[in-house]
């Protein structure tokens, strides 16, 4: 039941719209089949599957709206949920910011669904975990990992004739490998729509090697360092920057995008001119739906081009107030990379720090987009073009805006998944940054 075809979804939604007696109605039909396996101490700790289909109906009278949902799909249930949403809308206070649903939009399909992932079985998950645990145990390393896969669909219809449908699959894998003497730790992340690209043995080997190489880290003084950030680390800070690029907050003066004296930094250069960040739902590495939950069409769109802010995100209400087109929050994030390999970047570094990932990143000052957090699971000191030794973890206090102004080199892009920068899949390059601010040392391994 969980994955309905376009025709099946359309058929249900048409019935829903037909039951409406309100000024208008919008219905979202979503379904998911998910599975996961979690392991720790070189042993599976939990595994499970869940399945869910939900219909959400929003009816409105004037500027009063009400939402109801149901997970039964016979005619009587569909009629009941429409009636319930109409009753709720009559009870609701008027919302001056309410926007009527959109009329039909033009959407472009995106290749987000892969049968390989849709057909994952519990046996696959168990084998994926075994392929991670067994090589760890053989090297005196303890594995703790998590694999989660999902197949789902999303459909939307309203009384103004709009219909949208998409289905997608995803698989996310992370594993932390810790040496049994407690002095080394490595980590790896993989994220794909197509599980045939995932090899948990290959990924686990990267983490095991890092765990072994990071044993007995030495302390070096905190301060400003040239850093090479692996894509997972850089992607977290880039992702967090996206959350701050809301147009309304910028217009209201409470954003790092607000300008002294009023106005916003839209159209201004805020970072190094080599920085190009954009969204493209049709990118094959990080595909996303061509529509948003409220039916806006997504498109390929620059966010930062040549270091200049090209777009802020406008919801429909704020766009109507400012007489601009709405700009939906992107379904993916892509930053242009360069040609340098990680080896090239290390070779060209006189003195620096190689960072695998960041952890516990939290905002410190929204005015400057300053964040604090720590390095984790393998941090290395680079001297005269070579990795010299592992170093103890650092706490950083840094803003992605300052970071992208201090850009030295861009490397190759890699897809990163659900990190601390939010859920959207991202294609992020390795990057070398000068003067990255580490403010203290951590004893954590």
């Amino acid at each position: 039941m969980a994955i309905l075809s376009k025709d099946e979804a359309q058929q249900i939604l048409k019935k829903v719209i037909g039951f409406s007696k309100a000024d208008g109605i919008e219905a979202n039909l979503n379904g998911n089949d998910g599975g996961n396996i979690r392991y720790a101490r070189n042993s599976v700790s939990t595994s499970g599957e869940d399945s869910n289909v939900n219909l959400g109906v929003q009816s409105y009278f004037g500027k009063k709206s009400g939402t109801a949902t149901i997970n039964e799909f016979d005619d009587a249930s569909l009629e009941k949920v429409v009636k319930r949403s109409e009753e709720l809308s009559q009870l609701a206070p008027e919302n001056p910011e309410f926007m009527e649903p959109l009329s039909q939009q033009a959407y472009q399909d995106s290749k987000t669904f892969f049968d390989s992932t849709a057909n994952i079985t519990p046996d696959y998950r168990a084998q994926a975990a075994a392929n991670s645990i067994n090589p760890a145990a053989a090297k005196d390393v303890t594995a703790a990992g998590y694999l989660t896969d999902n197949r789902g669909f999303s459909a939307l219809m309203n009384s103004k004739g709009l219909f949208a449908y998409g289905k997608s699959t995803s698989v996310d894998f992370t594993v932390t490998m810790r040496t049994n003497d407690g002095t080394g730790s490595g980590w790896v992340t993989r994220s794909f729509n197509d599980v045939s690209k995932l090899d948990t043995a290959e990924a686990s080997k990267v983490a095991i090697d890092k765990a072994l190489q990071s044993r007995n880290a030495k302390a070096i003084e905190p301060g400003k360092y040239t850093v090479i950030l692996e894509p997972a680390a850089a992607g977290d800070l880039i992702g967090l920057m996206f959350f701050g690029m809301n147009a309304r907050q910028a217009d209201e003066g409470r954003s790092f995008m607000s300008k002294k004296g009023g106005g916003t930094k839209l159209g201004e250069k805020i970072v190094d001119e080599r920085v190009n960040i954009y969204t493209d739902p049709w990118n094959e590495e990080v595909p996303a739906f061509g529509f948003t939950g409220n039916g806006l069409a997504r498109k390929k769109m620059d966010i930062i081009k040549g270091g200049v802010v090209s777009n802020l995100f406008y919801d429909r209400y704020w766009a109507s107030q400012k007489n601009v087109e709405p700009v939906p929050f992107p379904g993916n994030r892509i930053m242009d990379g360069g040609t340098a390999s990680l080896e090239d970047m290390i070779k060209d570094t006189k003195k620096g720090v190689l960072v695998t990932r960041f952890w516990y990143i939290r905002p410190v000052d929204p005015q400057t987009l300053l964040y604090t957090g720590l390095t984790r699971d393998s941090t290395f000191f680079i001297e005269n073009g070579k990795i010299k030794h592992p170093v103890k973890n650092f706490r950083f206090n840094e803003s992605p805006i300052i970071m992208l102004n201090n850009l030295e080199t861009l490397g190759k892009q890699v897809r990163v998944g659900n990190g601390e920068g939010g859920g959207a899949p991202s294609l992020i390059p390795y990057m070398k940054i000068r003067d990255f601010t580490f403010t203290s040392l951590s004893d954590a391994v």
């Binding site: 939402t67 990992g145 409470r254 410190v364 400057t368 720590l374 951590s442």
Partner: protein, 546 residues
């Protein structure tokens, strides 16, 4: 803690609001929130279906949780109601031990047939996973309590208060802030009711009605000329209380420095928003802190988060053992350190206790989610580490034979596991007020309210901000400070504590969104303390220019 989720809920993150719906949560009408779909006697019949089915399939232990989880969330900004959401989630989760291994399955089909099928799945999963099990699950014994009930001792069920009354309170809150100079005001009210029925093959049938409430706001002041903006969040605490928390009582108000008012067991949200607006205005021109060593005077609504991160989490036995290594992390607090009996976690002033029975706290319940009666126990005594936080299947690793009763699942469709109980700092025994504490400080900073927080995966190095900061010079508050954050190491920090105020100053901080596990689950937890002094802590300046 999933701060980002909350920011999105309040509309400060993205343009639109996201519904705070969990999996299988359905928006419902107000009337439906007050319905009672099943009597305890009916739930017992259903629970017995699971217990009998599992036993017949060879399970050696079974517990079943029939849960109805209600939420109401009201969000406003300035003079507008942005969103009112009522949700209900109803279903059953069955957990078994078969072949020495845990299995779990859940369903929203709360019928004998639905429960039977879920139980069969749980047993099948346990048997399938048993091939990966290194050693069989070993449970600490627990008494069967028979048919018992427990209710949060509320005076006024917040779900019975008309929405119009709550909306009116939030709009008056915003108006109070705007009248006092705020440029923007967002306010929110979260209300939670967990109706949980637990039964186990140990002979317990436990019916509990749990309530929580969290009123909060963010008040912002914008200075267009300088381009600066500053925000001040509410000094409320999420509480395990009913609507009576929002009926202010004078005896619950404490005077803080520089005209601050701090709140204990009831909260005056309109008053606090008015004060917040004035403070946010003052922040625009407040001086930037000079980095260096300061004696910190930390108020309970601030100190609670430091307790949470640097004591509550590191003492969770499952993370100490490595079960959270791939997500939340492990811990510096090893079993060896505990067993030594000499590990100096803090100074002699530091007495930390866990307590799942504390009235008004978020974690208070009669029994945990595996049927263990809740209690209070010591974690740190006179500065020495004396115990951890553990549940039935792990406490034997500590050589103890009684669970601490801190097992929790965020919903019926999530498996229960070890969660942080309320962890609190005991007040000082000698009479001592926060005024006396400030007077004794030569060079220091008074910090109130929660702010930025971050700690490493083994809980050594942390950095905390706050809501408001006041400079102390020679025993006097001299003015407000900006750009303050302190960095320290857990053991060093707690050993730098030289004084804890007495019980008159004791109050709770709380969090609705403590995150742990994969898939991640949230839980709500409180941390009590009195204002405390920490000497010579490293303060950094977080001001930057972009």
């Amino acid at each position: 803690m999933r701060r980002r989720d909350f920011v999105q809920l309040t509309g400060l993150g993205l343009g639109g609001l996201m519904l705070p719906l969990g999996a299988n949560s359905n928006p419902v009408s107000l009337e439906a929130l007050l319905d009672s779909p099943l009597l305890a006697s009916q739930k017992k019949v259903l629970a017995d279906v699971a217990l009998n089915t599992a036993k017949g399939l060879g399970a050696t232990y079974t517990d079943v949780r029939i849960g109805r989880y209600l939420n109401q969330f009201i969000s406003t900004r300035e003079n507008k109601v942005q969103n009112i959401v009522n949700t209900e989630s109803f279903g059953v989760g069955v957990r078994v031990i078969a072949k020495g291994t845990w299995g779990f399955a859940a369903t929203n089909d709360v019928t004998p047939d639905g429960i039977k099928k879920a139980t069969e799945r749980a047993v099948a999963i346990a048997k399938a996973n048993s091939k990966f099990q290194k050693e069989p699950v070993k449970l600490a014994p627990v008494q069967g309590y028979g048919e018992v009930t427990w209710n949060t001792p509320i005076q006024k069920n917040s779900f019975e208060v008309p929405v119009s009354e709550k909306v009116d309170l939030l709009l008056r809150t915003n108006s109070g802030a705007l009248k006092n100079g705020a440029s923007f005001a967002n306010s929110n009210l979260f209300q939670v009711n967990e109706q949980k029925y637990f039964a186990s093959s140990d002979g317990s049938y436990i019916d509990q009605d749990v309530h929580r409430i969290w009123p909060t706001f963010t008040v912002s002041v914008i200075d267009r000329a300088s381009g600066k903006f500053k925000s001040r969040d509410a000094m409320s605490a999420p509480m395990g209380m009913g609507y009576e928390y929002l009926v202010p009582k004078n005896e619950d108000k404490l005077s803080g420095p520089a005209g601050m008012v701090l709140y204990r067991n009831s909260y005056d949200i309109v008053e606090d928003a008015s004060i917040a607006a004035k403070q946010a205005k003052e922040m625009i021109t407040a001086k930037s802190v000079e980095p260096g060593k300061y004696d910190l005077v930390l108020e309970p609504n601030h100190l609670g988060l430091t307790i949470h991160e640097s004591i509550g989490h590191p003492l969770e036995l499952d993370r100490i053992l490595g079960y959270e290594a791939n997500y939340a992390g492990t811990s510096f607090a090893s079993i060896d350190k505990l067993k030594s009996g000499t590990f100096n976690y803090g100074s002699k002033q530091i007495n930390i206790f866990a307590d799942k029975t504390q009235v008004g706290s978020l974690g208070a319940v009669g029994y945990d989610d595996e049927g263990v009666k809740c209690k209070r126990w010591d974690l740190i005594k006179d500065g020495i580490l004396v115990n951890f936080e553990a549940i039935r299947d792990q406490v034997h690793i500590l050589g103890q034979n009684e669970s601490h009763g801190c097992c929790y699942a965020q919903s019926w469709n999530d498996v229960q596991f070890q969660r942080m109980p309320n962890v609190s700092l005991a007040p000082g025994k000698d009479p001592y007020s926060s005024e006396q504490m400030i007077k004794a400080v030569e060079k220091g900073i008074y910090i109130a309210g929660r702010g930025s927080y971050s700690i490493d995966q083994q809980r050594y190095n942390f950095q905390f901000g706050g809501t408001t900061f006041y400079e102390i010079k020679n025993g006097q508050i001299t003015g407000m400070l900006n750009d303050v954050a302190y960095q320290s190491n857990t053991q060093e920090f707690w050993n730098s504590c030289v004084k804890v105020c007495d019980e008159k100053d004791y109050r709770m901080f709380g969090s609705f969104f403590d995150g742990k596990g994969q898939p991640s689950q949230v839980s709500a937890v409180s941390h009590g303390s009195s204002t405390s002094r920490f000497n010579a802590v490293n303060v950094i300046n977080t001001g930057r220019t972009i």
